[in-house]
């Protein structure tokens, strides 16, 4: 049913650290690899080796440039379903294929009843739902529901594929409804925030802000690249440079 549960017993979700994410795409690749063989039908790709390659991905990594000049920085920004507490993508669904689970708050699509009307993708502010052109249904992050409860896995592997893959521990998984959980403590400690809070969807996933930059003038800061010493003999006009240029001409003939 597309009516939302009044409360959920858990609020399972992700905490994403924008300070330590290096934008390596390992989470996105691992997500695609796991989910193309998992819960729903394969995440199809189209024209993969042609001029217009595209396909369904459940996790995408943006790269932003924030601020100006020396104060500027690059922020790598993973974006996937936030498993909102009041997700409009669920309530607009005409078939009941979209639902939010009362037991853990995970938002899922039933691939056997989805009609592919795409209205849920219009209702989502975060671009989290992607239509699968081959399968004709909507795909989205399942929080790896087929991993996290999988008792054939070792306990440390019962986390979403993206969390398992992250080489910098920028992704954390847990119950954000429990104030004593590690993820809740992390959010409190690092002032985790919601994306587009004014939209009113109450995202479960939280983002941790980049930490303040170290003072560039402080002791121990890296030497500016321009001051680095260039290796001798590479400037044009030196004897060795002229020799190598002559050698290059001779060998090219």
């Amino acid at each position: 049913m597309t009516a939302l549960p009044e409360t959920t017993r858990k609020k399972l979700g992700l905490v994403i650290d924008l300070d330590t994410c290096v934008g390596c795409q390992a989470c996105a690749t691992s997500c695609k690899e796991w989910n193309t063989a998992g819960y729903s039908a394969p995440l199809s790709d189209h024209d993969p080796y042609g001029a217009d390659p595209h396909g369904a991905w459940l996790n995408r990594i943006h790269n932003y440039e924030v601020g100006e000049g020396e104060a500027g920085r690059t922020v790598h920004f993973p974006r996937s379903c936030l498993h909102c507490e009041t997700p409009a993508c669920v309530t607009v669904c005409p078939t009941g294929a979209s639902y939010k689970r009362a037991e853990d708050g995970i938002v899922l699509v039933d691939p056997d009843t989805c009609i592919g009307c795409k209205l849920c993708s219009w209702a989502c502010a975060y671009g989290a739902r992607e239509y699968d052109y081959a399968h004709g249904v909507m795909k989205k992050c399942t929080l790896c529901v087929d991993r996290i409860y999988n008792e054939t896995f070792e306990p440390e592997d019962r986390v979403p594929a993206c969390v398992k893959a992250c080489p910098t521990s920028a992704r954390h998984f847990g119950d954000l409804g429990d104030p004593e959980s590690d993820v809740s403590k992390l959010v409190a400690q690092r002032q985790g925030f919601d994306l587009l809070p004014d939209m009113g969807f109450k995202p479960t996933n939280k983002y941790l802000p980049p930490r303040a930059k170290r003072d560039a003038t402080a002791a121990g800061a890296l030497m500016p690249v321009t001051a680095a010493i260039k290796p001798k003999g590479t400037e044009a006009g030196t004897v060795s440079a002229k020799f190598f240029a002559w050698a290059d001409r001779v060998l090219s003939n």
């Binding site: 049913m1 597309t2 009516a3 924008l18 217009d52 390659p53 595209h54 369904a56 991905w57 995408r60 990594i61 943006h62 790269n63 932003y64 440039e65 924030v66 601020g67 100006e68 104060a71 500027g72 920085r73 922020v75 920004f77 974006r79 409009a88 669920v90 607009v92 669904c93 005409p94 078939t95 009941g96 294929a97 989805c114 009609i115 592919g116 009307c117 795409k118 993708s121 219009w122 209702a123 989502c124 502010a125 975060y126 671009g127 992607e130 239509y131 699968d132 052109y133 399968h135 004709g136 249904v137 925030f193 919601d194 994306l195 587009l196 004014d198 939209m199 009113g200 802000p209 980049p210």
Partner: protein, 317 residues
């Protein structure tokens, strides 16, 4: 937003069909324009049902899994799309009974009146639900507006009124003053609401920014450095559609002319000239309104910006 032709055909064709049903029902209550009997009822109700059915069939072309379309009736408690589906189906038997009463003349004025009232309620409610599918989405600024659902209803009535005029003129040779005037009023109200709508989407502030979307505003201006992929993905294809401002303004003028000015001019002329060339004028009015409403619906999608574009390099939405 990407303007899908199937959805444009669906909302405009069934919009005019439900509008025509409303005018037929109103005339059944007040003064019957289309005469009773088999042929007139078949032509009038047949046109309405054909438009509605073509529209609904076209809307299923938009689906990834059309064979599962029946499932869309189930979630009317929360989903405007589901409510629209339920009401669209309910309207068939109600208006169908009215059509049968029209054909065979059974039932007294009370039964016909009740069927007519139910047809009006059901058809207007269906149009309202179509509008609310869009108006209920806070993610699209140009849709999340109080004028959107009323415009869907009034445009249905205006285009249905122009059709009612055409069918009446074809069957009777000329159309009485009252229904022609009613169609003119519907066109005028639709023109007024649509002009106001364009003014309000032009003047309304873009409250969401790339900074508020990413939560990084505290560090300065946010610019997209690298998108997550080399080519447009589904989200960009569906939600990232843009129309150039100057093209949009030209198309708005076309809507003003084709949807409102020309049909209204034709109706006024046919009122003034009496039995001059009513069929030709009614035909021009209907053809022009069809072009106009299709353009209006295309613009309704093409001009709408979705908030998700903020993650993909847009500054505000």
């Amino acid at each position: 937003m990407h303007p899908a032709y199937s959805v444009i055909l669906f909302t405009t064709a069934s919009g005019a069909g439900y509008g025509l049903l409303v005018w037929l029902a109103v005339s059944a209550l007040l003064v019957r324009i289309i005469p009773p009997g088999m042929t007139p009822a078949l032509v009038a109700f047949g046109t309405a049902f054909a438009l509605i059915t073509v529209g609904l069939m076209s809307s299923t072309l938009h689906l990834g899994r059309p064979e599962r379309a029946w499932r869309a009736m189930s979630q009317w408690r929360t989903s405007w799309l589901s409510r629209e589906g339920v009401l669209a189906i309910i309207t068939y038997p109600i208006a169908g009974l009215l059509a049968l009463a029209w054909m065979y003349g059974f039932g007294g004025p009370i039964l016909t009146g009740l069927l007519a009232l139910a047809t009006i309620a059901s058809a207007v409610a269906t149009l309202w639900c179509t509008g609310m599918i869009y108006a209920s989405l806070p993610t699209v600024r140009a849709w999340h507006m109080p004028l959107v659902a009323p415009i869907y209803v009034v445009l249905g009535l205006a285009t249905g009124g122009v059709l009612h005029n055409l069918i009446g003129t074809l069957l009777l040779g000329t159309m009485p003053v009252l229904p022609t005037a009613a169609a003119l009023v519907a066109l005028a109200v639709a023109w007024f609401l649509k002009s106001n709508y364009w003014e309000s989407i032009d003047s309304a502030a873009r409250t969401y920014t790339a900074e508020s979307a990413t939560g990084l505003g505290g560090y300065g201006k946010v610019r997209s450095l690298d998108p997550p992929h080399s080519r447009a993905n589904f989200v960009m294809r569906e939600m990232g559609y843009e129309v150039a401002r100057k093209h949009a303004l030209k198309l708005r003028r076309l809507v003003m002319l084709a949807l409102f000015a020309i049909p209204a001019g034709c109706l006024v002329l046919s009122l003034l000239t009496g039995a001059g060339m009513p069929v030709l004028l009614a035909l021009i009015a209907a053809a022009s309104a069809a072009v106009g409403v299709a353009t209006e619906r295309w613009l309704f999608f093409a001009e709408a910006e979705h908030v998700v574009v903020l993650f993909y390099g847009k500054d505000a939405a």
